[in-house]
Amino acid sequence: MADYLLSLITFFPLLGMLILLFIPRDNEGLLKSFALAVTLVTFFISLPLAFDEVFATSGGMQYREFHEWISVGSFFKMNYSLGVDGISLWLLLLTTFISPITILSTWKAVDKNVKGFMALMLLLETAMLGAFVSLDLFLFYFFWELMLIPMYFLIGIWGGKNRIYAAVKFFIYTAVGSLLMLVAIIFVYYYAVKSGAPIDGFGVQAFYNLAIPSSAQHWLFLAFAVSFAIKVPMFPVHTWLPDAHTEAPTAGSVILAAIMLKMGTYGYVRFAMPLFPEALHTFIPYLALLSVVGIIYGSLVAMMQEDVKKLVAYSSVAHLGFVMLGIFALNMQGMAGGMIQMVNHGISTGALFLIVGFIYERRHTRLISEFGGLAHKMPIFATIFLIVTLSSIGVPGTNGFVGEFLSLVGAFESDLRWYAVVATTGVIFAAVYMLWMYQRVMFGKITNPKNENLKDLSAREIILMVPLLVFIFWIGVYPNTFLRKMNPAIELLLHQVKSKQVAVVEPVQPVIAQNIVLK
């Protein structure tokens, strides 16, 4: 069983989807329950990974699976190679954890072609899980592209008014990035074969040890970096996100924010950074600059939004800026902060999109000006919304603080000190846009008569929020549960990145990154 655990987790939703196709399309209740059951079972199958102590001691890949897959002559070899380490572990679990919650959130929201919707959701889960456990670049690319298709249809069919525009924009953006990455993947493979290095098909771990010349590294890194930056998304390639988020159905937004954006950050950590460490070194100041710009820019734009969902979307740009800054610090604290912030963002922003979904289902509008005084009618909702808001702001005791703080500690220890100072102002802006929105939606008197008869959260809605609230506090108060199983993998990764950088002549850093005053 343990030999095939990752395959089982990855393909269980797909299997469920195939069975689901045989359920009559008008039996909506069964379709929904079945999809929920499949995602729940997937979650329980994946749960033993969380308790495996091996991640606390070893940073290497566990639960390895390896089969030859496609070979074209003797030249192209693509393998089915899976594995999980402390870095992908929590993203994998986040995926299996969020999926049942999103399915449960569609109970009332989706009534058009339920069968198609559920099938796509399950396909999407398989694609995401596959991307997190792939150790073969080609296999990763396969899953990466596979993710696009269900999401494209989820937005395009079940989305809001501008769904076609949003779906196409989402597809163009991501596909452009993917193409760049594909070219780079092929180049790396050619180089590996040509240089006669011992490789294992497209196995990424063997690629880590290639000595790709600097000049080529720069182009390859950029190709990967742009592709992942679109997914993260980093400024200025973020503009697909507000549209996609706003138009997507609630479940789509949750999946998009909680998991698919993590593909970008994960891509940096797993592929772009360790594959091209020299290029990384050159580009870090620029990437860090974009991260910091993203934090401030995302916050300021979020502040002025009139649509709650768009506001949350722009806040994602800011939050992911913290993740990237932490990762680029290239030290234990920053990396751990970035990693935990990925999980946090999944939980908090996922929860925020669910919350927006709750009020959208009730009022069929998301304009802040349509609301006001909701706390009178919906006290439970008000409390949950407040907790999630605080987590998003990063109040200590909630998960958001731990992630932001560790990222900032890391950045302050590294050469990115000055970027970190600017990034820290993000804590002010986050409070401004979140609390202002909360105040306008929840506080005050009810001025719009349509809000007079709003019902508080139902039992189902509370049940699907509670697990998220538990993790908001768990990660906030005792993050060690997660950190200790990340640390060995992060250590190994940093070793991989840095050992290859030592050989490089120290490139000149831009003046801003040098520490001028504090010596």
């Binding site: 076609i164 779906a167 196409v168 924009k169 597809f171 163009i172 953006y173 596909a175 193409l179 594909l182 070219v183 092929i186 180049f187 050619y190 040509k194 200025p236 390639v237 503009t239 697909w240 507000p242 300021l300 734009v301 502040m303 002025m304 939004q305 234990m332 604290q333 005084g373 605080l390 109040v395 200590p396 005791g397 603080f401 703080f405 560790l406 900032l408 500690v409 302050f412 220890e413 970190a420 100072v421 820290t424 102002t425 804590v427 002010i428 409070a431 401004v432 609390l435 202002w436 105040q439 929840m442 506080f443 005050g444 108060v477 060690n480 950190l483 200790r484 640390n487 504090l518 010596k519």
Partner: protein, 663 residues
């Protein structure tokens, strides 16, 4: 006894969880209020136990680690507590005053629909405040620091259907966050700069022990302490971040007493005292603190002169008194600053609760008479001393205490600060002068308040004036206890010069706190200038001058509001411009709104509609249109796109293979 330290914050946490989860169902005010009050009272008992154990203990610093919080590489942060004289004093104030205010709230909040919510928040506040003062490292302190800010937000916004309350709550949180930005920066630079010397720590004891690794007066220490001080100005409402505190009066009055007078707003003072080892090494920062403190003291006092809302006067008075505490910190008079923190907690809590009692009575009367007059406007009061004798007496003694008349608590603490400001190595006669003038203004506006509220003829609407009752015992009992403390609380820290007269009575408080501050003060020469140190005559002389100024202030208030009530009107008429500026709080709020808030909004809109929509999306959509054109009229749908997608893939592969083969 120290093993039970964790119980001190734990009890209020239990109260919060209990009332938060079940309060709405219980509905019984006696149970909700009883649990809330009992929990903080239990904390008070445990605090007493620890406090008295510490008094007789030769070992003055104790730590208790509960669990590891974050552990990544060299970063190790615990959930831990630090118990030394400073935190011992603070927990006594927090739990003691806290208990009284909980008790008071049972009566004051009677009949409110959000009764359970109020008590849950109040308990959560006590929990956070206790974490703040008990934390053994800067991160646990920060948990409390942000926690009290959050509770302040929740409690200011308690009447959330009032727009002004929601605005005030948000303003408080955001302005505090600006301070928190400073706190975080200070924390992170400190961690990194000590770390680069080989000590990776956030622990206060370790920071104090290793502070010498940093250069005294160096850039690092100055930057770190200035950043921390920015944090303090946010939480403790000092210039330039004081503007949230007066607005915070939107909250229920007991909240103003507990959070916005006695405890939370003193957190900045406590933080500087806690990090005295670092601050002592940064003379430039200390100077900034002293100047900001003195300026705030006089500036806020000037606004207090002209306000007519009873709580607003007290709010500006709090800002002003906090200025004194910072002045003390800035001139190195750490224990004097903490002393004033304590006495201020007594008399200001009593004043706020007293004003609450008045408002409660006025509200009751207006309610009975079906009037909608403002129950907080002093112009509607007058002559209340006969209606509310207990409130009046306690209010009066607290007013005397804050005005600094001899042998009341405020006299001892304020005078010690002024003495240090004058005679300390880091002092300056100008700091003293500003402080002394501010003391005169304090005496004036406080007695103006007393005269307008309790003396003269009753100006309340005739239909309501006979319905003003004295408040019930749950309200008057805390007033009496706090009033007593406001009178006698100062005897714990009698200045040396006075102590000598009373047969060598030592300054107990200074001795008690010595283990915390002594080292820093010796190391950095933070003491009274030697030529003045033994001059009892000089000390008495200064004392006499400041008492004289205070008495003059009181006299002026008497002339203007009792003897000749027409005078204020004439004054306003002849100095209209000046009066308007002062009455409108020097237009600082308007200035901030115009310069900062509006520009931020403008930039946000520009980035959104200018950069995002026009430029970035313009490029994206433009490309799409161009592609569409090339595609020969293909419709703007997926098919047109997939075509390009496939093309792009092929072209990409061809290019790269070509590059590989021919390159």
């Amino acid at each position: 006894m120290y093993d039970y330290l964790w119980l001190i914050p734990f009890f209020p946490l239990v109260g919060f969880v209990f009332n938060g989860l079940f309060g709405k169902k219980i509905r019984n005010e006696a149970v909700i209020g009883g649990i809330g009050t009992l929990m903080i009272f239990l904390s008070f008992l445990v605090s007493c136990g620890n406090f008295f154990t510490l008094l007789n203990d030769s070992e003055k610093v104790h730590q208790q680690v509960i669990a590891s919080w974050m552990s990544v590489g060299q970063l190790q942060i615990d959930w831990g507590f630090l118990f030394d004289p400073l935190s011992a004093l603070m927990i006594m104030v927090v739990t003691g005053v806290g208990t009284l205010i909980h008790l008071y709230s049972i009566g004051y909040m009677h009949g409110e629909t959000g009764f359970y919510r109020y008590f849950a928040y109040l308990n959560l506040f006590c929990f956070s405040m206790l974490m703040l003062v008990l934390g053994n490292n800067a991160l646990v302190m920060f948990v409390g620091w942000e926690g009290v800010g959050l509770c302040s937000y929740l409690l200011i916004g308690y009447y959330f259907d009032k727009k002004s309350a929601g605005d005030a709550a948000k303003k408080a949180f955001v302005v505090n966050r600006i301070g928190d930005f400073g706190f975080l920066c200070g924390l992170l630079v400190l961690f990194w700069s000590l770390g680069s010397k080989g000590v990776w720590t956030f622990n206060f004891v370790e920071i104090a022990e290793n502070a010498h690794l940093l250069q005294t007066g160096g850039v690092v220490v100055t930057v770190v302490t200035l950043a921390f001080f920015l944090g303090a100005t946010g939480k403790s409402a000092q210039i330039p971040l004081y503007t949230w505190l007066p607005d915070a009066m939107e909250g229920p009055t007991p909240v103003s007493a507990l959070i916005h007078a006695a405890t939370m707003v003193t957190a900045g003072v406590y933080m500087i005292a806690r990090l005295n080892g670092l601050f002592g090494m940064a003379p430039d920062t200390m100077m900034v603190i002293a100047v900001v403190g003195a300026t705030t003291a006089i500036f806020a006092a000037s606004i207090g002169l002209a306000q007519n809302d009873i709580k607003r006067v007290l709010a500006y008075s709090t800002v002003s008194q906090l200025g004194y505490m910072f002045l003390a910190m800035g001139v190195g008079a750490f224990s004097a600053g903490i002393f004033h923190l304590m006495t201020h907690a007594f008399f200001k809590a009593c004043l706020f609760l007293g004003s609450g009692s008045v408002i409660h009575g006025m509200h009751h009367a207006y309610h009975k008479a079906h009037l909608h007059d403002d129950p907080q406007d002093m112009r509607n009061m007058g002559g209340l001393r006969k209606k509310m004798p207990i409130t009046f007496i306690t209010f009066l003694v607290s007013t005397i205490a804050i005005s600094g008349l001899p042998f009341f608590s405020g006299f001892f603490s304020k005078d010690e600060i002024l003495w240090w400001a004058f005679a300390g190595e880091r002092g300056h006669w100008m700091l003293w002068l500003v402080g002394a003038i501010a003391a005169g203004m304090t005496a004036f506006y406080m007695f103006r308040l007393v005269f307008m509220t309790f003396f003269g003829e009753q100006k309340t609407d005739a239909r309501a004036k006979d319905h003003i009752p004295e408040s019930p015992l749950t309200i008057t009992l805390p007033l009496m206890i706090l009033g007593t403390l406001a009178v006698v609380g100062g005897f714990w820290g009698i200045p040396h010069a006075l102590g000598n007269i009373f047969g060598h009575m030592p300054n107990y408080l200074e001795n008690f706190l010595a283990p915390v501050f002594e080292h820093t003060q010796e190391l950095n020469g933070l003491e009274i200038k030697p030529e003045m140190a033994h001059s009892a005559a000089l000390e008495f002389g200064m004392m006499g001058v400041s008492v004289g100024i205070a008495v003059f202030g009181i006299f002026l208030a008497w002339v203007m509001y009792i003897k000749n009530p027409a005078l204020p009107g004439k004054f306003v008429a002849s100095f209209t411009g000046l009066w308007r500026v002062v009455y409108n709080k020097w237009f600082i709020d308007e200035l901030y709104a115009a310069v900062i808030v509006n520009n931020c909004k403008r930039i946000g809109t520009f980035l959104w509609k200018g950069i995002d929509v026009k430029i970035v999306d313009g490029i994206v959509n433009g490309t799409a249109w161009a592609v569409k054109g090339i595609g020969g009229g293909l419709r703007y749908t997926q098919s047109g796109f997939l075509h390009n997608y496939a093309m792009g893939m092929v072209v990409g592969v061809v290019v790269i293979v070509g590059y590989y083969i021919f390159g």
